[in-house]
Symmetry: D2
Amino acid sequence: MKKLNIGIIGLGRIGKMHLENLVKLPEYFQVVSISDLARTDLATIADHYQVPDYYHDYHQLLEDSAVDCVLIASATSTHAQIVRDAALASKHILCEKPLDTDVNRIKNLLTFVKQAGVQLQVGFNRRFDHNFSRLRQYVTDGVLGNPQIIKISSRDPEPPALDYVRHSGGLFFDMMIHDLDLMRYLAASEVTTVTAKGAVLVEPAIGKLGDIDTAVVTLQFANGALGVIDNSRQAVYGYDQRAEVFGDKGMAKADNDRQTTVELNLATSTQLDQMPHFFIDRYRDAYLNELLAFHQAVVNQQPVSVNGLDGLRAVQLALACQKSFDSGQTVTISY
Amino acid sequence: MKKLNIGIIGLGRIGKMHLENLVKLPEYFQVVSISDLARTDLATIADHYQVPDYYHDYHQLLEDSAVDCVLIASATSTHAQIVRDAALASKHILCEKPLDTDVNRIKNLLTFVKQAGVQLQVGFNRRFDHNFSRLRQYVTDGVLGNPQIIKISSRDPEPPALDYVRHSGGLFFDMMIHDLDLMRYLAASEVTTVTAKGAVLVEPAIGKLGDIDTAVVTLQFANGALGVIDNSRQAVYGYDQRAEVFGDKGMAKADNDRQTTVELNLATSTQLDQMPHFFIDRYRDAYLNELLAFHQAVVNQQPVSVNGLDGLRAVQLALACQKSFDSGQTVTISY
Amino acid sequence: MKKLNIGIIGLGRIGKMHLENLVKLPEYFQVVSISDLARTDLATIADHYQVPDYYHDYHQLLEDSAVDCVLIASATSTHAQIVRDAALASKHILCEKPLDTDVNRIKNLLTFVKQAGVQLQVGFNRRFDHNFSRLRQYVTDGVLGNPQIIKISSRDPEPPALDYVRHSGGLFFDMMIHDLDLMRYLAASEVTTVTAKGAVLVEPAIGKLGDIDTAVVTLQFANGALGVIDNSRQAVYGYDQRAEVFGDKGMAKADNDRQTTVELNLATSTQLDQMPHFFIDRYRDAYLNELLAFHQAVVNQQPVSVNGLDGLRAVQLALACQKSFDSGQTVTISY
Amino acid sequence: MKKLNIGIIGLGRIGKMHLENLVKLPEYFQVVSISDLARTDLATIADHYQVPDYYHDYHQLLEDSAVDCVLIASATSTHAQIVRDAALASKHILCEKPLDTDVNRIKNLLTFVKQAGVQLQVGFNRRFDHNFSRLRQYVTDGVLGNPQIIKISSRDPEPPALDYVRHSGGLFFDMMIHDLDLMRYLAASEVTTVTAKGAVLVEPAIGKLGDIDTAVVTLQFANGALGVIDNSRQAVYGYDQRAEVFGDKGMAKADNDRQTTVELNLATSTQLDQMPHFFIDRYRDAYLNELLAFHQAVVNQQPVSVNGLDGLRAVQLALACQKSFDSGQTVTISY
């Protein structure tokens, strides 16, 4: 198995997590360089994780011919430019979602990447989750027959900082985009209409910023199936991540993971163990599997499992949800 | 505790079931008469269940001054007239849903019943289900805080006969009406808008009758909460009845009942026991509790737990769902 | 279906419960008489449940030729004599466990009953529990293959009154006897050895009476299988009733029932609903099914499902457990 | 945090697994050398995992002053000698279970290791399992009160090769030793008596070797608690690993892990996902946590979490079980 030399661009919370995961996969990846525009502790990080090179300017990282591929975890607004530059430098790319916020810009970008002949995988990590990938397997194996109703509950344990919300692009774009991608993954069909209802029930300050914190979106699919996603910015009991596929041959549902299987029976209550509270804990294996899938696609020159078109579609859906919410009516999507 | 003399009007499948339940409650009810327009075996049934009197014409049943109350389980189209006649005869009434299909007729009926001074309970039996009433209890006790998202999955094991579908009033009116009532029960708030999406995915012949067999309805409530109901006429794995309430203090979800708690571990699979297949099995206790609640309200002269207004609201919601489905857009309800 | 006229002898807690169950089964049983040596409110009870006759002396009840069968729920010490008298009067018998505390007396009694040609069913109600009968079904259907390990946990919610303990015959005889019978039912084989370990961990006063409140018993079966029962007089979290059968083709385990399927997720814990606290709640259906099984055996002249030999074996096993506990060593049982 | 240089002695299945785990923990361990008496592919393995040195003779590994600690995963019969040599060379030791099969030899060994002033941790990995450590936490936190009944089910998916069985020391020594250690861990008390019952129900050839494949062992603890372990060499449905602690304040039980939380509902059955089939999958995290605990103890000069006395006790218990099984009677253990 070929080991890939990888460079990481952007070392915020997500970039750092990917770094820690990559060093746990020494048979697959060698982290040869890291870059971040703003961090002042790059030398310390590089030393701690035994990364040979570090840069503030990602262009330097791309100039290193020893780099096979890059992982882009910088700010969303920089994704398109860095993807373009990486493609130009013939590096295979694993880019965090979303690719961009503008549909036409993404379309142009995908054309460019295709011409450059490099791989581009988009960071929808939930496709690699053990529970959700089992649901998908049941769909593609035909165990459930034709999907008819698909449901996703996705609720954060607590709302993000208001400053984050201000630049997030809104709930549909920042949070539900994961679920919109997961819907396409589970339905194995494209969405034709969305109807988005939302409310400010958690944090009034979020409403003052023109955003919402609670939403229910209904989807219709090209194959006739119906879907529904519900989101909340605050589930006080933890990070609630569930999905269900109902088809003409059966139904499969994925419940939350819990830290242990222990059931505690006390005089006044019977308690189950807690669910993982933080997305990095909940999707720990998913993030590792995402990296392994990227490795396999690059090394074996196979199609990536979440490609640029998937990245585009998710953005189109999020924008349609916003439009439906603003208008109060159902929106038919044109691709 | 006062025992009530009860007469049953209409001995189809549901009327028969109520009869069987009533004789299991000898401390609460004495079935003193039954009536049915069409059955030719009334004498046999009366004999088997030791019911003193039987009639083809329900007016005769109403004339018996020994009758304290009636249970109406006749065809929907006869409900309004029989309720009116029973009220005129000063009998307390437990009437199967729906009261009628016309909103104005129901409003007039409720006025009439009120003036007659009799109790009217509507047969939304699911409110008395052990699981759903526990959810409701958590809402009213404040355990969950303010409800923000409410979800109901309600799927039949198999589609009804086409002839039944033809006269059913459609999925929203015949099937979802139970869930629409349950939504109001769990939200403790009135619905302001509905958005109904539906499809024919189970049985094309249902589509040819102008009806649908699969639906997802989104609701907005006066208190800001969002709700979603999904219905299917055919869940091949059984009678799927679940609900969930998500609030700012917690979330409670009711899963399906299963016949036993036994988990069977075999070489190729781990299996849970089956869920009850038929609504009479699934809601066995709910039907008994419904009768006991009616008994208590009548004997103690307390308000019934599902009153005429509840019956009206459910019909209004079902009609709004149909209108939304037909128009493809969100419908705001005016009461 | 033939309706049976039944008389109840002994109206303590259990006799009263049987009375209430019998009136819920009006198609199967008519309670024609009740008797109790000590109660002063027999007239009131008879009136409330519409029982025509009542007696203090059970001999009078037996003299009534309209009585088809009797349910004996009097004190244990009276069982043998009443069974004998009822058999002599040609009444079919459903007798609460245990038949007696003396093995030879039971053997003589069984011979007598057999000669009288009446049916005798012993009140091991747990065989009729939905969970445990499903386990048994898996055994007899061969789904699990040959049973190899059988486990029963049976724990009371709280210890009985000391005065009850004093006359109970001890934990093995009073409490574990149910589990010993259930073991034979699930193993479909006879026990060859028992090894009983016990302790006083719950209530020192029980120890002062020479009894124990906690026990673990290991059993070896004629078919080679091994079994283990654990008992406690006090499970602070409820009435804990579980069983498991492990065979060469699979394993099935019955967990506790819970009042609802609701899962409550709060900020600090996820809670399941409570288990039924009291044996009459937990085994509600089992007690009804027990009566129906008795009805069917008598009416169809089929063998009863828990016969006199089963009653004998349970007593033999309880006595062997006591002997093992006293000696600290394994005891081989001779039948 | 200090990184430890570690050498691995013995590269069979377990040694190889530890090697793979150690390279996933680059912040804690550097594998500097491996040794194995018999393997001919040491150079290939060393190259693949980037291990600088490899030897056939472990003495050479011990001579390297850069080695801080060793992990011993060689054949059981060599453990005592290698532990002694490693201690003499002042290396901290993580040794697979059992330390030896002879109680006196272990006692002498522990004295020697103590005098050498090195750490010795014994490889009872299950103490580090997420489920079982949660149970232990509930015991030590007092959540369950005083333990009264402790139960462990531990069943392998399939019997080992007969050649393995021949040299395994028997079921009690080879398999149940893990559960005997877990019992002490969960009871937080020493065992006073054991009563072992066993049978040959799985594989007659195992019986011909004088061993058994099925066992139930009852234990009495110094604190009065009772325990029971059941073992089988073949659970056709998977690797069945469960435990339960019942105390005077509550009960906690750990069920099996399953690969996902997905519940699959089909027309004929409802299925849960499979449990991990192989002990390396089941205890994946436990093996990693075991290494981290060893790291922490050595680096911080804290007591190891599974010490030499724990290793001794487990052997004493396994020998007592064998003695009880052979005699058919309860055995009181003298330490």
